[in-house]
Subunit: 319 residues, 2 copies
């Protein structure tokens, strides 16, 4: 094949997902390998290059560029991983230097949440929009903010930490060191914690107790979503509570930035119908009329490929 | 005189303040007149032009440009005043058209909080910085955000409403329609309300009761600041509480935008020593280490001239 292409790499805590991506944003080939997150500084790098090698062989030539979406606190300008919870060896790790030892192909590194926002902006829900925030509601809450079509990184590359918007000043402690961060209420983890608390307090539903085999450890956000779909009152209450806090986070974003759009993705997305009404209603209550009514709150469209696509987009942009 | 100059106009609810401003940011002449805020659509415009006329006569020639800093919700691109609390007749008012009827001199209109941020960035505390928020703690809390040295206005020109960052989700009702906005706790009004509540609850200090002549309506933020300087415990507690909420707002700004600097101005500034420690400590507690320690929290330096200087800066930039 003579087609020009780039490779997008989405590094997760468990798997590396790679893809050959065309200039239009089509994923032509895919490859996957374990992240080897705990196996030292260099094993994850080696495994990413196995994925790149695999994809390059399928294409019969080298890519034009490679984009890397990396979880954690990334100083993207210098390619330094300050800290990345799933990769305990990566503390102030010079990923850029490590990658340069492996390849002469041009590459770009950014935070995975920024990559996801770029992916949604390129071929997803944010296509045609310039000022938006893409929030990924998963184990935590990731955020990428685009202003004038460019990722807003801030002074030290750590902007977009929307999961740590404070929604309850004396609320639940957060691993970040603070309290009452949105992530503690509106992520999958937050929802499950709310349910476990109700379970332990004896406020649970019969359905929940049965499905979880009487064991609060078996509660997941998927299980709560399934129950809500079956009409379970307790699960619905939990998603409404989650939506309230999400709406407070939306309001802060709108009051500060007056965005065009907020895009919601991540594992909690299937429960959209149970939280979005309360979230939008709280947001409108807590913002001025024009900015509150102008902003569009929409579902992400790229699913699990947002990060890979955004990484590839960074690769295309770097050329 | 043959010197080139611009005129900056800072429109307040009570007074119009105007100044002849040099290219370096020196205020060469000043003029002042009543705003006539309640006297119809056009009287405030006429009075602003009296100030401009007065200054132009002093200079013996027309200015190169005029910058207007206008309170309220301003759609600066089109020069429309959507709403301005002190100017009840100005609802969706086409200020640009009104000004064009009066003059052929080029002019620029922006929100007064954005103007203040530009003034501080030009010749004040923000000089040399690109990404900062300037907060004015007065009757309410005004905010102007500069990113890459430019005012961030957002989709509908209403970004920077930092007074409505939510710091207490079920807190005090706010005129914006929401609850628990930072403005309800960390503005002069918020501080006075806290003191009145303590007064009415019987938690007041003997000193406060004496100074206020036993009348809670006589409590002002200046009075509370004076008392705190004399060591009054209750007043100090109030400023600490105010600082806590201010710090939560700081944290939200840093988590979202990873700014270089937050500049604090306004009528509450004399009480700086009584609230800043708590505010910075709350901010650090609720942000990641690098962005929380990188941001500088500083006092505004332009005092009451920030808006006038920023308006003049807009004038110079428009040429």
């Amino acid at each position: 094949m003579t087609q020009k292409y780039v490779i997008g790499i989405d590094l997760g805590g468990t798997f590396i997902k790679g893809g050959v991506v065309s200039k239009r944003g089509d994923i032509i080939f895919r490859a996957k390998k374990e992240s080897a997150a705990k196996e030292g500084h260099f094993q994850p790098v080696a495994n990413m290059f196995d994925v790149i090698e695999d994809l390059s062989q399928k294409m019969g030539k080298d890519p034009e560029a490679i984009g890397f979406g990396i979880p954690g606190a990334i100083f993207s300008e210098k390619g330094i991983v300050t800290k990345s919870p799933h990769f305990p060896h990566w503390i102030d790790f010079d990923l850029q230097a490590s990658l340069k030892e492996k390849t002469n192909i041009p590459f770009v590194i950014d935070n995975d949440a920024n990559a996801a926002a770029l992916g949604e902006g390129w071929v997803g829900a944010g296509k045609g929009y310039k000022h938006f925030c893409c929030m990924t509601l998963g184990t935590g809450i990731g955020g990428g903010i685009l202003l004038n079509g460019l990722v807003w990184r801030g002074m030290t590359g750590m902007a977009g930490e929307v999961g740590h918007i404070i929604v309850e000043p004396e609320g639940l402690p957060c691993p970040c060191g603070g309290r009452g961060c949105m992530e503690r209420y509106s992520s999958a983890t937050g929802i499950v914690d709310m349910a476990r608390k109700k379970f332990n307090d004896g406020n649970d539903s019969k359905q929940l107790r049965e499905l979880a085999d009487d064991n609060p450890d078996k509660i997941t956000s998927e299980l709560l979503c399934d129950l809500a779909k079956k009409g379970d009152h307790l699960s619905k209450t939990i998603f409404k509570e989650m939506g309230k806090y999400l709406g407070i986070g939306f309001a802060d974003l709108i009051n500060i930035l007056n965005l065009e759009m907020i895009i919601i993705g991540g594992g909690v997305l299937p429960a959209w119908e149970f939280f979005i009404e309360e979230a939008v209603s709280q947001m409108k209550l807590r913002t001025y009329k024009i900015p509150g009514e102008s902003v569009q709150i929409v579902k992400a469209r790229c699913g699990n490929d947002a990060g890979l696509l955004g990484a590839a987009y960074m690769g295309w942009q770097s050329r």
